[in-house]
Subunit: 416 residues, 2 copies
């Protein structure tokens, strides 16, 4: 019989869940101290909301739910479907805010952790159901939002066992000004960003070729490369002047915001950061600063986010400034090996010991707050002890009908 989970999904075994729960608990504790409050939205949303254009490419990957009560196939596929599984936590959050904003604090600090579904081509390390871990600050128009999201997330990752991240920061308004300065029409900027985003993979040669094939003149490409190179590896003191020089069309408030955020980051002690003029981030809805956290042991970023001041307005009818940061939860748990080994006692009982007596032994050990499990003796003693140790138990008590042996650590030899 085939007991595999649905294609592209997976079962999570106890040891895996223990790591995930440990990481989540540490992250939750830190976000809670920053005042982020956990909310939950349903896994299913109206199909029209999911296909409304907020989700970009993810809208092609929706699990669609058949209308209930159909008795025969509908005339069209659209008629067949009324709901879908959410593909991220941002679309539900904007609906949630629209639905509940009258009773929420202002600003509202949201923490979400939960599964999302995308019918992607299955590949190593990628699953069709996976968990997202987002914080969002809604109603804060200044870069206090950006700086706080970065500080809280950096601290949360360190608490989860992932210290030493580097912040990479940019701004969509900077990217737009750069593209505009290069004579790229607003509607073609998406393609410009997609090419720029490939710099760390294909290098300047590859990027230049792609720019040219997009119709940019050689000298324009040269200018873009010079502007970007000038902006890489800048320290905070030089950021404002270099930005103004490299991108003459850049508005003063964008520069002031970047100076304010980097200034706040500089005040966060050990935190390392850089302005990264090649950072793009995929989603179309970002309107201001964008940022990612890199870690030396991870090829891709471990967290990413940005400001999206125009998104909530689509649900609410009036704009509310907002900024979010999403931890790549599945990615960071892969960086961590295992949860700390906990004290766990196995009460190994012979089959003829009465149930009430076995339970009493376990109960007395458990009274001290310890983790205690009963297991019936079977097979060869040494072999069973080996298995029990493999299962994560650290000591055992052997209960016979007429005697209870003292507790012994597992790993030590038993010759009973």
């Amino acid at each position: 019989m085939d007991n595999s989970p649905a294609r592209g999904t997976r079962d999570l075994l106890p040891a895996t869940v223990a790591v995930r729960d440990h990481v989540l608990a540490r992250i939750t504790e830190v976000y809670h101290r920053y005042g982020y409050q956990r909310i939950e939205t349903p896994a299913i949303e109206d199909i029209n909301r999911l296909t409304g254009g907020q989700g970009g490419e993810n809208e092609k990957l929706i699990y669609k739910i058949l209308r209930r009560g159909l008795t025969e196939p509908p005339a069209t596929l659209d008629e067949a479907v009324d709901l879908g599984l959410r593909f991220d936590l941002t679309v539900p959050l904007t609906r949630f805010y629209g639905n509940n904003q009258a009773v929420l604090p202002l600003p509202f600090r949201s923490f979400q952790f939960g599964p999302v579904w995308r019918a992607e081509k299955p590949q190593k390390g990628r699953y069709r159901q996976f968990n997202q871990c987002d914080i969002d600050l809604i109603g804060e128009e200044t870069v206090l939002a950006e700086a706080e999201l970065i500080e809280a997330t950096t601290e949360a990752l360190a608490a989860a066992g992932i210290p030493g991240v580097t912040v990479r920061l940019s701004d969509r308004r900077f990217l737009s000004a750069l593209a505009e300065g290069a004579g790229i029409a607003p509607e073609a900027q998406g393609g410009f960003f997609i090419t720029l985003d490939k710099l760390d993979k294909v290098g300047w040669d590859g990027v230049r070729k792609e720019f040219v094939s997009r119709g940019m003149a050689e000298e324009t490409v040269e200018g873009v490369q010079q502007a970007i190179t000038a902006l890489q590896g800048l320290d905070q003191a030089k950021l404002a002047d270099t930005l103004a020089d490299a991108v003459p069309g850049l508005a003063a408030d964008v520069i002031a915001d970047l100076v304010a955020t980097t200034g706040a980051l500089a005040g966060m002690g050990e935190l390392s950061w850089e302005f990264d003029p090649t950072l793009v981030r995929g989603m179309g809805y970002y309107t201001g600063q964008i940022f990612e956290l890199s870690h030396p042991e991870s090829a891709s970023s471990v967290a990413g986010g940005g400001r999206y001041d125009k998104l909530i307005g689509r649900s609410l009818g009036r704009d509310v400034p907002a900024c979010g940061f999403s931890i790549g939860f599945e990615r960071i748990v892969d960086l961590l090996d295992s949860a700390p080994q906990a004290d766990a006692v196995a009460v190994l009982h012979e089959a003829d010991v009465p149930v009430a007596q076995v339970m009493q032994v376990a109960r007395e050990l458990r009274a001290a707050g310890r983790q205690v499990t009963t297991i019936k003796r079977r097979g060869k003693f040494g072999a069973q002890l080996g298995r029990v140790q493999e299962w994560g138990y650290t000591s055992f008590v052997h209960v016979k009908s007429d005697s209870i042996a003292d507790e012994r650590p597992l790993g030590a030899r038993e010759t009973s």
Copy 2:
């Protein structure tokens, strides 16, 4: 714009999530001490597994997922669907055990908490997405399983703030013997149980009428009523003899098991229990003892479970004894009012205070492990303080560009 969640589902606001998280953490902590290990299975399962007959009436309520990649409507509805949302955690558990048993401990103690979906008619307090909270002990053939599940769950509920439950216990084998003694054919026993289950709602008059309408003779009905009445309110010492008298066809090992379980329950200190010959429980897969927990403040039971020794065999190909207990999570959180009020500081800052300075004030307060949130000053001071207090903050600090006022408790008057 309509920002309601999908019909029959709901958004969970921060205060609600806080109660739920608090309850779940207490339950988890107790189950962990009993050695139950949390596992996770995907929300989506193969549609053929979900409609394989384990789910009873729930199989009519499945959210079905459209095959990906369809370009036109399929010829039949069956062809349109390949997956569905799980309607319980037991079907996935039996698949999980079949898929992973080689690497799991024996016996295996499973703890599951997660959402399930049922397309039920929306009604007050019933939602189409809700959470189940199950423990299962797989591979334990004796009533140690039943007794331990009951002890652990009773303790978990007490830890969550719901002490004082009563255990009601019966056995499917007792019910079958009772029905058989009344001359009811095995295939008609389901209907017999359904009627008996209504006793607390319709009383003996109603039950007698329904038995007769099912074709039972008046004197048979009289015999069943006498047997059941004799078995209600029994103490443990009289249980064995009374059972043997009232249901002559009952096997000795069923009586011995009930004596062993009630003996173990009697050893659990304050726990109150009763043998309840009218307890049925809905699912068809139970094979032995069944049990529920009642609480004086809840009309329906707060937890229920039983032994299902033949269910895992359907996935695994060989029978493995198993017993499970499910807490009515949504029901018990409704019995509880709110999570304990936590210390939470609002840093109220005027708009002209630099971001880095506001963050530094928050950072210093947070260093002591406290929950600290920044909120911009807006509107009338007293009115804003009132709102901040409503949002759950317990104190505030007022930050101006040239001064920081001492922390003050919320609720006290401010005349700044």
